[in-house]
Structure formats: C-alpha cells, structure tokens
C-alpha cells in the first residue's frame, strides 16, 4: 500500500500516468518543433509562435463551420482538411512575416525577439477583431472523442492517440526533410557556415524564408491539434510561450533529437510531479528544475562540441 492505493491500482496509475505523460510529450514536441526549426536553424526566437498556433486553431474552427454548413456528410473527415488549411495559412503568413520583418533582423537575435513580440500583439488584436474576444468552441467529429478500454482500470484516450500519431508523423516528415532532402542539406549547410553556403551557390535568403514558413506552418498544425484539448481565444497563445521556449532551449538549439529528448524529460517530470503534488506546485517545480539544469548545462542537453 502506498498513499492509500493498492498494488493493482498503482500499476494502473503508472500505466495511465505514463500515457498522460506521453500525451503531454507529444503536445510539447508538436508545440516546440516549429520553434526549434526556426530557432535552431536560423537563431531567431519567434515570440509570436503561440499566435501562429492560435491562427491554426481559428482556421480549424472556420473549416469546421464550413463543413457543417456546406458538407455535413463529410464532417467526420473535416479535421484532416482543417490541418492542411491551418498549415497553409500559418505557413503563408510566416513567409510574409519573414519577408517583411525577420530578414531585416538576422544579425540582431534579441531584436527579432522584441519585434516578434510586437507582431504577437498585433495578431492577438486581429483575432479579437475578427473572431471576437470570447473563446470559440471547435466541434470535433464524434470518432475523435472517447476512449478505448484496455483493462478494467486502464483507458486510452482516442484524441491522445491521435495527437501522438500526428506528432510521430510530423516529426518523421521533418526529420526526413532535414536529413534526406535537398532543402535539408542546404539548411544544414547554412547552419554550419552561412558565408560558405552562400559562396557555394545556396540561396540562403530563400532557405531562411522556407525554414521560417515551415516552422510557422507546423505551429499552425499544432494549433489545429490543440483544439482537441485546449481553448481557442485571442490570448490563448501566450499560455504556451514559456513551456515551448524552455523545451527548445533545454533541448539545445540545433538538435532535433535534443528537442525531443527535452520534451520527453519535461513532460514526464511534470506529469509525474502532478500526480504527487498539486498542479501549481508541479509546474513551478518543473520550471525550476529546468532552469537549474540549464545553469549546469547552458547549451542544453544535446549540443555539438565545436571550436568556437
């Protein structure tokens, strides 16, 4: 017996907490992936990342309405269309933002941080003006709600499985793009040595723009997926900022693997702590642990050791 639970219950606790942790992990990866690509490959901190996610969520909301009005029979599958719309919308705005704003600030990382914060304010107000200040509810197809009964005490949530699958797929696609495609090769070349890549005939400007657009697009997909578990309101994006940044920074800027590992560490510790402490204290403890670890390993979990 432990804390009043029987052994069997403890087994179930661990199974379900592990699953809850995995969902949180997927959520973190999904949130952080876009940011990690942008920060890792370009050194740009995008403070409007949360707003790009919310843009994706609003696109999902719009798509669901369109389907309800014009194609109610296809509603069950609208979510896939919505994710595509979210990706395209966020990605397109990302491209525009890169072209108008980011490309002028590449050598001033702290200033991009501030400028994108300004952008986030504008996006928030735009959401408010267009969609209203209240939260909007996104209706999900029925098949995405509910859970699968594995044993008497263990249940697995369908939308959790969906988020996990989605995360797995997107991560795989990004990894393939980065390590197998020509674009990925060029990106890695630019990261390794921008001047050299430029000299070798790589259009670094174009690579930057694509990278930024892709990062924002993935944020859009993440936002779309978040309508399943979170709220959609003009300021909801801000709630994700700190978590997302810490995941990326903790993982080490230039490593996809690092981002994943750090998302795993943070999500598992948070979900475990949540079980034994209350929600607030679990959050504080997790953040403090991450800050503490960052002081010990300032460059993050995974970083290439290179000559400076």
């Amino acid at each position: 017996m432990f804390m009043g639970y029987s052994l069997g219950e403890i087994g179930s606790i661990f199974a379900m907490q592990a699953f809850a942790g995995l969902i949180l992990f997927s959520v973190f990866v999904l949130m952080a992936l876009g940011l990690a690509i942008i920060f890792g490959q370009m050194g740009v901190i995008n403070m409007a990342h949360g707003e790009f996610m919310i843009l994706g969520a609003y696109m999902t909301f719009l798509t669901s309405h369109l389907f309800q009005t014009y194609a109610p029979q296809a509603f069950a599958g609208y979510f896939f269309v919505a994710m595509l719309v979210a990706f395209v919308a966020s990605g397109a705005i990302g491209l525009a933002v890169e072209w108008l704003l980011i490309k002028r600030l590449y050598k001033r990382p702290l200033d991009t941080l501030l400028a994108t914060w300004g952008l986030s304010l504008i996006m928030q107000q735009a959401f408010r003006s267009i969609f209203g200040a209240r939260e909007v509810g996104v209706q999900l197809p029925d098949w995405m709600m509910g859970s699968l009964q594995v044993t008497d005490t263990i249940e697995v949530q369908i939308n959790g499985l969906f988020v996990m699958t989605l995360t797995l797929m997107i991560t795989a696609v990004v990894a393939l793009l980065l390590f197998r495609s020509r674009w990925g090769l060029q990106v890695r070349a630019v990261v390794a040595n921008r001047v050299m890549a430029d000299a070798a005939g790589i259009d670094t400007r174009r690579i930057d723009r694509l990278t930024f657009g892709l990062g924002c697009g993935i944020a859009g997909i993440a936002g779309s997926a978040f309508t399943m578990i979170g709220s959609t309101s003009p300021t909801a994006g801000q709630a994700y900022i700190v978590d997302t940044f810490l995941v990326v920074v903790f993982g080490g800027a230039q490593s996809l693997l690092g981002t994943i590992a750090s998302a795993f560490t943070i999500s598992q510790s948070q979900s475990t702590l949540e079980f034994f402490l209350t929600g607030s204290m679990a959050k504080v403890t997790t953040l403090l642990i991450v800050i503490g670890l960052l002081m010990l390993r300032p460059q993050g979990l995974f970083v290439l050791k290179v000559r400076k």
């Binding site: 290439l304 050791k305 290179v306």
Partner: protein, 248 residues
C-alpha cells in the same frame, strides 16, 4: 622531459578533440625567454587551437600547460591574462564603439575589478602611457577617433597596441598582417621587432616573406602534431615540410 626555469611557456603532451576529431594530438612546445617563435602549417593543422589552449579559451583533454613554471591549465582567460599572456585574434578584435584612447585605456592593466573600474581616475601616468603606445602603433594622430572608423590595418595595429599596453611577458599573435597592404606589412614587421625586445612572442603566420623577416625559430604543425621545428632555413630545407605544403 625538461621542465625547468629556462622556459617561459611549456606545453607538454597536450591533446584536444572536438566530437572525436583530434584537433591537437599529443603536442609539446617550449618557448624561451625573449624568443620569437613562428608557427606555420596548412589549414586545419591546429595552429589557432594551440593558441586557444594556451590562453584558456579551449580546455585540453589531456596534457599540461605551464607558464613560468605555474600550471595554468584550469585557469580562466582573465586570470591567464593577469599572469602575463596576451593574445591577438585572427580578425581584429577591438572595441568598435570606443575611441582609440578608450580602447587602450581599457587594456591598461589596472582597475580590472568592478570597483576599480567604477572609480577609475585618468591619471597623467595613464594618459602618457596611452599616448606613448598610440605613437608606437602609428595611431598617435588618431587618438580620439572611434575605432570602427579605422582602416583594417589600423585596427590590427590597435589590437597589437592593446596587448602592448598590458605589457605581457608572452605575446601571441594570430596572423597579425592578414589583410594588410605591403607598406603596412613593413611597418608591422618593424613594430614587432620593437616589441619583442623584452618579451617572448608566438606568431601564427601564412606569409612566408613576413615570417622570414622576423622569425627566430619556426614550428610546423600538421594534423595537430609538430611536424618539424628549427630555424627558417632548416625548415625550408625539410623534405617532410615540403611534402605537406606542396601536397596540399
């Protein structure tokens, strides 16, 4: 291996690796008092890494480095500087937003802690010394100019001046004439000859003409190891060296 007071600097059996790649491999190097040593070698031979190791910028994975018989392997950069080792970087590294005077003033080896800097007084002695050094580095007439408005060569000199005013016992220069015009090179060579009178100097250089004009002894690095060491003539005659350079 010798480890006696004759050497200003003793680098013994030092190795360092980056992600498995051994940039410096079991390298040993001894510098005498008053010696001017030139290190040459093809790209990637580990020249700059050797300087990084000595001045504390990179930590050695193995081996020992001592300065005047004091082990300096674990010290931080500023502590090594305070012991008397000065370092010039490959690309000019100066304070662009400050004037020439202020650049030299900051480098003056006094008032280096927070309170010292806060209550710093510009005494006659300091002003005189700054002006003296400025004249030495051919910038006597530019003392109030912002450093960023200087020409490339002048920036290189300013950085040398900043080291000079520290009055280090060991001076390390990474490609001091890179990007200089012919006349600037000549002036720099004169400057170096002036400087080395009362200290030891390590120079990394590619320009063989320049090396010939200043060197006492030359060390050739190749793939993180010492390939050869000796006088300029001996090195030039060394078949291994010829092979490395021509082979590239």
């Amino acid at each position: 291996m010798p480890n006696n007071t004759d050497f200003v600097l003793a680098v013994e059996g030092v190795s360092v690796s980056f992600d498995g790649f051994k940039a410096v491999n079991d390298l040993s190097l001894y510098i005498d008092k008053g010696e001017l040593r030139v290190i040459i070698g093809p790209n990637g031979a580990g020249k700059t890494t050797v300087l990084d190791l000595i001045c504390g910028r990179t930590r050695a994975t193995e081996g020992a480095i001592s300065f005047k018989n004091q082990y300096i392997g674990g010290l931080k950069e500023h502590e090594i500087v305070k012991l008397g080792i000065g370092r010039k970087f490959q690309t000019p590294s100066i304070y662009e937003d400050l004037t020439v005077f202020e650049n030299l003033e900051i480098s003056f080896p006094r008032g280096r802690n927070v309170t010292g800097a806060l209550f710093w007084k510009r005494s006659e002695e300091i002003i005189a010394r700054v002006q003296e050094v400025a004249r030495m580095i051919f910038l006597g007439d530019h003392i109030d100019r912002l450093a960023e408005t200087l020409s490339h060569g002048q920036k290189q000199w300013l950085e040398i001046g900043m080291l000079l005013i520290q009055d280090p016992e060991l001076l390390m220069l990474d490609e001091p004439v890179a990007g200089m015009s012919v006349s600037e090179r000549r002036k720099t060579a004169e400057l170096l000859k002036e400087i080395i009178k009362n200290r030891s100097v390590i120079v990394i250089e590619h320009d063989m003409k320049f090396v010939e004009s200043i060197a006492h002894r030359v060390t050739v690095l190749h793939q993180g190891k010492v390939l050869a060491e000796g006088s300029m003539e001996a090195i030039q005659a060394n078949p291994k060296v010829q092979e490395v350079y021509l082979g590239h």
